[in-house]
Symmetry: C2
Subunit: 187 residues, 2 copies
DNA sequence: TGCTGGTTTTGACAATAGTCAAAAAATAAC
DNA sequence: GTTATTTTTTGACTATTGTCAAAACCAGCA
């Protein structure tokens, strides 16, 4: 909990008052490697703060698992579309390592929005950050060759390469595992 | 102006009070085809509502123009990264048709956030929508073949195909103009 | 009607990436 | 330390897409 609050204070200017309020709104969750945080077809009703561990978001396409994002320490994670719209999730979230998470329900969060302008602001700012991140990722992914994408990953997010099996990384980069292996051989 | 307010009322539950406030915060801008709304290297200080017309966001990569998004009627547009961080823009926004826009400055918007919780909420909700849209676009773009991407464009956003020159569309899909032409030939 | 500039298509060939199958390497299990 | 099991790499071949150059198409307009 301390880590979540510290993160919010550092990156979102959380006030002492809001801190007191938030303290009681999150619930600790501990899950083991390979367990699912969200399953496709189910509505995702929580937003999670990832204190410790690593996980991935993926969906199934023609029997293949397509990993399209990763989460690590200090990330807020959820099945975004499902959490926002309260429609069944199209994606799965699975742990790549044992994780410690803090969960807040959509209802609790909505209640906080109504009572505390500051907390809605905090989320608005989080959206800005995550939007920019996604936009960068989009441009990177879409307009570069397999080799360039991997090099960009090494440069900008080396922790992904260090902690994630290559099978997930190739999927994340939108290339086959074999091509990734060859790209790595060339470097 | 009516159109902007109507859009906000319909899709963002804008209250009558907030409507009165917002009315005076936007400035009308009329620009001709091919003019630039944002130029790379300059800080983008405004958020725009596109009342009429069509435009594109693009950046330069090895001397080539990469179009990575389009804007149409009722879209909020800006050089997102630049507007948020107030760093120089890496992208250009150019009009594909003559446009009518309504501009609000970052400072004005920030002032509104401080005074009206409801307006910050409105923007928070806008972020949600735009984030989901981008996420869908990301998945579509990244994990499908050239043909599938074009078909998906036809299916989900046919107005793009109708109003945008093929050269921009191919760039948007991340494929060459020739490949797009051949894909179209096959359908 | 016939230029003119731009856009779109076609053709030939090269480069890139995917697929399937098997080998090698790395982990985990006993 | 020796098996299993999983992950990663390699090889041969195929499919997809890109590149360059030329042709066709399509306005707008003298």
């Amino acid at each position: 909990m301390q880590q979540l609050l510290a993160h919010l204070k550092t990156f979102y200017q959380l006030s002492a008052e809001a801190e007191l309020v938030l303290k009681d709104c999150f619930e600790e969750i501990i899950l083991a490697k390979n367990e699912f945080l969200v399953k496709e077809g189910k509505v995702c009703r929580h937003l999670y703060f990832l204190q410790q561990g690593a996980l991935r978001g993926f969906y199934n396409l023609d029997g293949k698992e397509i990993t399209h994002w990763f989460g690590f320490e200090n990330d807020f994670v959820t099945s975004f579309h499902s959490f926002t719209t309260q429609q069944p999730s199209v994606e799965n979230i699975q742990l790549m390592e044992g994780c410690i998470l803090w969960a807040i329900s959509k209802d609790t969060l909505t209640g906080l929005f109504n009572r505390y302008h500051e907390i809605e602001r905090l989320v608005r700012i989080a959206y800005e950050k995550y939007y920019i991140r996604l936009e960068e990722r989009y441009v990177n992914a879409h307009f570069k060759t397999a080799g360039e994408r991997y090099e960009s990953l090494l440069l900008h997010t080396p922790h992904i390469v260090e902690r994630v099996p290559l099978g997930f990384i190739s999927s994340y980069l939108g290339i086959s595992q074999e091509t990734l292996s060859r790209v790595r051989g060339r470097l």
